[in-house]
Symmetry: D2
Subunit: 345 residues, 4 copies
């Protein structure tokens, strides 16, 4: 059994970690921390877990987080994460960080979109935690930067096209739609039920902070610098991301080549499911799971390929993927604790 | 491992059985049937289960259902259930029936609210599958009539008050609110998204067929004939039932006696959770689980007690309870396969 | 044209007043105030009104509110309302107050459920603004206490039964369900989309502040002191209240007498619609309007009558009724500016 | 007063016509027809209109529709529309057709995406009813083909860019999201509440029938043949369309030129509202109205412009626009009967 601590366990991603880990056969949650809820019992903050987990929220300090843990999940805001993680590592634990702080290869990029990076040395060491692309290095990592929710949905959709050089990398456009839990449990008018319900809107058009993260990984896949148009939207639902990806096919590329590219990259993957030809996925079919379901269509009229991916933003887009990374880091089966089927409806 | 078959597996309760059973450590689903989908692969009807279960829907016949099963769940419409169940029992399997056909003690009551009963002899044998009340007889049963969703939520709320003779049984009023999945997966204007979304309504006021089922069990608990006012309502949500129960306290009954009654009956129950004083539950906190969460308030101004219960109508109100009944019938732990924590959000 | 000012125009009820009044043929909104948004253009706070109304939010002071107004709507929190209203009246305007501050006849009741009343003399003068009951005194009033949303839905449902002495007044139970806009536009976890969506809950069980307001008016109707059980619930929808009312019929009362009572009281009312026998209303059918739609069922099994009423909490439950009161106070047709049909869906 | 008849008045667009027209100051609805509901009173089918309109649904025949009408709105399925419209015109009424049957200039295009056209001569006469583009010809038209909902949202977003030659017309990509009412009131699993609620999906990817309609009008605007990638998605909400449009800017085009193009084309339009710089619209802000709210962003990183448009699919995308077309055809003010502000929330 690996002993794990969760820093920032009172938010939605922290709670989702708890939900998964309290049933994980090879992990035990020993410590949960929360600045806002320190001293409170978990069941008082989340009555749904009454009877599942008797922990008390503690304060978020390196001492507490490492006192009884082999691995720490940091579900903290960016900046707060990089302030505490160096000390966690010094104390000998492994870390899966769910913030943006350790996802970037180049501190200058982080700085341009977030703020100055206070642990740039660790940036060089940290591994981008997308298992389908970096499984082997994750297995050896001490620090994993868990991918953002939008990037996960877009990178998995785009990877086969870029790896197999089927599209013009500069033509990529990602139109993404997210449920409201992506905005977290904090209070703002933009998450007020009446301002969201029965409406739909775009936000941070062409300026969302996930853009450089997406471009970094697309560039690796394409073998050249890539720029993408990325537009996030807010859907009146709690969970789920659907990304619609558009790309111009290179001259002569056939529908068969596209299909083969997806099957080649994902045919043996546990957590990527390819929809049958002509079916397009709903976010409902992956809720609460670590799946990414993919479908695509080659459109000869326009010479483009359209790819649709769906994930659960809290599971595959955050906590499920984090547990998957833990599994890889610890040598467990990748789907350990992540085998549940989704509810319907 | 118990081998189980599911008759009528393509509806919501059938699917919920599948979702639970495909991860059950002591059961294997060998057979799924559906008149509408016979011949189709499960994953084509429910893409969310792709990779979890490779079964093909077969036709709903006694031969098919018993060919490779020790126990059959019948998730069929009423009438269809009682037409097939006698033959299933003859072939030596146990049956948990999710329809209304085997919930009644008196065929005349069934006939007054449904239609003529074609297997009245089995009515005498069948056991009402509410584990908290009938655990011991369920354990010995060959045929369990799985309770209705509304009755489950109301009976669990009312039982301590009646068992301990704290209220006037004739004063009971149950105002219940259900998510839309309770209406099933069939098509009608009343489940059209646009007719439900952002609205709320009552239906079948004082004439819902769950009324006699509720009254039958309340009468057993009270030791006398009970009549209840029961009003169901439709909530624009997919899952969940909340029932608000009103009852007149007998003279002199104190808040402490009420509290003691709930703790006495449910203090050791695995699937009933009592909310801390002053907290009232949301249906969200039991989604996808077999829990019934209960809270109550004694109102000295009116001399009444108000009880609020929440369940997931598809899990505790149907398929989760059915699996729990199977567990009891097979001698497994009651929570076997039912241990998952709910999602939030 | 009557010139009107709206104090507290940036909340949902303030906005709803604006929406209605900016199309009212006999009223002109001259002044809108908001402490939070003073100095901002209306269209910047509510882009939906761009092109409809060019006003700028001003500060909430008596001078500003009365500078160019014959009548002021106060859509302020309780306490804030009674602090400013005496001075507004001194300056010669009429006032329709949407808070709880001037709904009570007895300052002691107000004090028991809210706080000390700072203008008790005006309590004696103010009129409870439910047009179906107090039309004539509203017409002569200088100050109207606009009813609460829950009380409106419950009083209209109960009035015929009490006026015609058809039920035992002490047997009344009101189980009410409201959309989220009833909680206002302020931020709290209870209105966070993810905490509300796809869930249902009760709150303030047997202790909601609308209870004494309901009881005050029920007692007037019954001609004796009435106590009611009142339970509010939160529905995952933006607008609407449905109240389900239960009452014990007096011995010998027939379904015909009940029907006659409703037709007698409401047969000529513009804004109360009686559903055909056997139909029960959805909140959707009154959205955005001043209607209260009513249905009832006499249940001979239990000797009770069940009444269902639906209103839009922001329109009939607040701002539409306030405009209706203004119409009566100014001698306009009651439905002036309130004639729109609801959307569907 | 113009006398109008509505063919197919029992669907959502028919109802929306009724809702608007029953309050229109210069029109009277004399006749409503519905094959499914012939003989039923309007208020029995739509209780929300009780007290607003006393009409009875009649059968859909040319005789009935023209007996007491100067203008007929045909809210019929495609094919059914073109079967009846020639006879309506022969009888001397004007027609606004809400189906796809008279939107196309080239019968071959219609035939390729729908079926054979049975009144190709009228295609040459009919006018595409987008007022901002074809106001003058609409004014003289006998037959108007009312635009589709998606095309309306996309054409209004794209027109300034094409008219002013600011983008490469072959680079256009339209990613659209619609509420469920766009699928109509008919029954199918895709509009079942539980299959839609809390989920999001794409459909008819690169093959939706609105594609040729969009391309026809884009080609006119661009002065050359245009092909577009168009992906519709289904949002768990009742009303509203948001389209996100992507286009490659021609070399050297500045943000100022883009802004000027929008202000040039729409600065004086009654029903197009341009959002302030940096604000992006929600569908909520145009619900129930004829507005199209637009915002755009020039992204120098990618050399693209991203445009976001929102409309109400039933109002601007169907019935509101149809009434606007009637206003133009009859010489009324364009906003006659269309002046209401949207609700919020």
């Amino acid at each position: 059994m690996v002993r794990v601590a969760i820093a920032g366990a009172s938010g939605y991603t922290g709670f989702e970690l708890l939900r998964i880990l309290c049933r994980h056969p090879r992990a035990t949650v020993t410590t949960i921390t929360s600045r806002a809820n320190a001293g409170e019992a978990l069941a008082d903050v989340y009555p749904s877990l009454r009877g599942h987990c008797d922990l008390i929220f503690q304060d978020t300090t390196p001492e507490i987080l490492t006192a009884d843990a082999d691995l720490v999940f940091t579900a903290l805001p960016h900046q707060a994460a990089m302030e505490i993680i160096p000390e966690l590592l010094n104390r000998g634990v492994k870390v899966v960080d769910l913030s943006a702080d350790f996802r970037f290869r180049d501190p200058a990029v982080y700085q341009a979109w977030y703020q100055e990076h206070t642990a740039p040395d660790l940036l060089a060491e940290s591994v981008y935690g997308l298992p389908e692309l970096y499984r082997d290095t994750i297995a050896r990592a001490r620090l994993v930067g868990n991918p953002g929710c939008y990037p996960t949905s877009i990178l998995l959709a785009a990877a086969p096209l870029l790896v197999h050089r089927l599209v013009d990398p500069q033509s990529l456009i990602a139109d993404s739609k997210s449920g409201v839990s992506g905005a977290g449990r904090g209070l703002s008018l933009t998450t007020h039920f009446c301002e969201v319900n029965d409406g739909f809107r775009a936000y941070k058009v062409a300026e969302h902070r996930h853009t450089p993260e997406i471009e970094q990984e697309l560039s690796v896949l394409a073998g050249r610098q890539v720029r993408i148009s990325f537009t996030p939207h807010l859907v009146p639902m709690s969970r789920g991301i659907l990304s619609t990806l558009y790309a111009q096919l290179r001259a002569g590329v056939t529908a068969e080549q596209v299909r083969d590219a997806y099957h080649d990259l994902y045919g043996k993957e546990r957590f990527v499911r390819l929809c049958p030809q002509g079916q397009f996925p709903s976010t409902l079919q992956v809720r609460g799971t670590n799946y990414c379901d993919l479908a695509w269509k080659v459109d000869p009229r326009t010479g483009r390929v359209v790819v649709v991916s769906v994930i659960d933003n809290l599971t595959r887009g955050a906590s499920g993927q984090a547990v998957c990374n833990m599994n890889i880091m610890m040598g467990f089966d990748e789907d350990c604790g992540l085998e549940d089927a989704p509810w319907l409806p």
